[in-house]
């Protein structure tokens, strides 16, 4: 039993609850754990704004992330495989990437709104940007770090380009591709809420939900929303990991 991992979080929550009870922690700034749970219940049954229930906020956010992430993977993985296989292409593309990559995804929000308007498309675009580079770069490094002996072994078996791609390059890069996807979806998810602060006005989305809660002074619901964002992040990572360990069983 690895019960010891629960000690610290439990202790912290208890101390927090205790300090809130004796009013050392002001509840209008940081509500107590129990109040956060009550806020969570309100989000589930009443909604924020009323009628807009938490599960729908979460689904909308997930949908945006899925959309942005799917585009990032669909573009980043093939491009990364090509770049990994061709030093020439790497030389050509790298300078562009080096300049665009350090721009924080959120800095794209204004231009994204200009291009796509406020709504689903610009939020998905921001998430795409956050997820794309980790996926691309990890795919490239996955290909580059394949031991050349496997390419040679394939050559001594008279492998044609098709086989080299499907039997060496792709499987060899897969573990690294998964790392890139997990980092990418993680960044995408983190970027989401901020993107929704500004990019979405449809009424659904965890970021929008939190901002509304702030507008009407409900710190308990803000924190409950943050908690949910964290938990969903853990969940996404877990799902990807489970899928990963099935695909790269050989490791």
């Amino acid at each position: 039993m690895k019960w010891d991992r629960y000690i610290l979080p439990l202790a912290l929550i208890l101390v927090w609850e205790g300090l809130s009870l004796i009013r050392v922690i002001p509840s209008h700034l940081l509500p107590s754990p129990i109040n956060i749970l009550l806020g969570l219940r309100d989000l589930m049954v009443i909604g924020m704004p009323p009628g807009y229930l938490l599960p729908y906020h979460a689904l909308h956010s997930l949908y945006r992330v899925a959309l942005g992430f799917a585009f990032a993977a669909l573009l980043g993985i093939p491009l990364g495989l090509l770049m990994g296989g061709s030093p020439r292409l790497r030389r050509i593309v790298n300078p562009v990437i080096e300049v665009i990559r350090p721009i924080p995804p959120l800095a794209w929000i204004p231009i994204a709104i200009l291009w796509f308007g406020i709504g689903m498309k610009s939020a998905a675009f921001i998430i795409f940007l956050g997820a794309f580079f980790p996926i691309l770069l990890n795919t490239v490094s996955g290909v580059v770090s394949i031991n050349p002996i496997y390419f040679e072994a394939a050559r001594t078996l008279n492998a044609k380009p098709k086989h080299i791609f499907f039997k060496v390059l792709l499987p060899g890069a897969t573990p690294s591709i998964f790392v890139g996807m997990r980092i990418g979806v993680g960044i995408g998810w983190m970027t989401l809420v901020a993107a929704e602060f500004t990019g979405v006005k449809s009424g659904y989305g965890l970021g929008y939900m939190i901002m509304t809660a702030r507008d009407i002074q409900r710190p308990d619901e803000i924190l409950a929303g943050m908690l949910i964002i964290g938990l969903i992040g853990v969940l996404i990572n877990g799902v990807l990991r489970a899928y990963e360990s099935r695909v790269v069983r050989w490791q």
């Binding site: 496997y150 040679e152 072994a153 078996l157 492998a159 039997k167 499987p171």
Partner: protein
């Protein structure tokens, strides 16, 4: 007929001002079809480089490799190579690794499965078809590597110290196994080793290389009848002469 090495030399580097490294010097040799040639030489002398040149993975600085009196066409002449570090694809199972050569040749699925299962059975790998290389013992990995190469029915099989990293019992077993295989499937084998006992037990012919740059310093024909007894007088006799050749060259290095 068979395989011929004509004046092979190899120099690495020498561009951009770095010191050129002479690895092979004027290697001449010949293996008749279906014979077992061992190449023996001190470690680091260039044995792997020689095999890589024969396999077409590396170009010689000069000289050429002929098969049946003509230049090798690597697209159609199958030259199998069993790598020093196995080089099994870690993401493919035993079955998939062994099957791959046939898949590349375009054999129908049913056919290659049947062929691979036959190899798996003969190579004592039954029950391990669906294991990945990391789940296999060293001896098993080596058998998979040999099966993967032999299944494509190559004209020549090159083996780079295939048993070098195995314990002596497994090594002896695999040597016997290899001879049994070679009895049924008479391919030409070029077998690199730095183990004199191994070379004498296995081969028809032995080439002895000097230390780097590798030159051929001696050739032997092993006439002891097969199946061989490792301890027979005839084997001991050859072994002694090969060892003497290696020693003599070491001494000549010292003066």
């Amino acid at each position: 007929m068979g395989l011929e090495l004509i004046g092979l030399s190899k120099v690495f580097g020498g561009k951009n001002g770095d010191e050129p490294l002479h690895v092979l010097e004027d290697i001449h040799g010949r293996v008749e079809e279906g014979r077992f040639l061992s190449i023996i030489g001190p470690s680091g002398c260039g044995k792997t480089t020689l095999l890589r040149i024969i396999a077409g993975l590396e170009r010689p600085s000069s000289g050429q490799v002929l098969i049946d009196g003509r230049e090798i066409a690597y697209e159609s002449d199958r030259i199998g190579l069993v790598f020093q570090e196995y080089a099994l694809f870690p993401w493919l199972t035993t079955l998939q690794n062994i099957e791959l050569g046939l898949e590349i040749m375009g054999a129908p699925k049913k056919e290659r499965l049947a062929a691979a299962m036959d190899y798996i059975y003969r190579f004592g790998l039954s029950g391990f078809e669906d294991r990945y290389p990391r789940e296999l013992s060293g001896g098993m990995r080596q058998r998979v590597a040999i099966a993967r190469t032999l299944i494509t029915d190559p004209k020549v099989v090159l083996m780079d110290e295939p048993f070098g990293s195995l314990d002596s019992q497994t090594r002896n077993d695999l040597q016997a196994f290899l001879l049994k295989l070679w009895d049924t499937q008479r391919v030409t084998i070029i077998f690199v080793t730095h183990n004199v006992d191994e070379a004498v037990f296995l081969s028809d012919d032995i080439l002895v290389l000097s230390s780097r740059p590798a030159r051929i310093i001696d050739r032997f024909q092993v006439d002891c009848p097969r199946p061989r007894d490792r301890t027979s007088a005839a084997c001991n006799m050859i072994r002694k002469r090969v060892l003497e050749a290696l020693e003599a060259q070491k001494k000549s290095m010292l003066v």
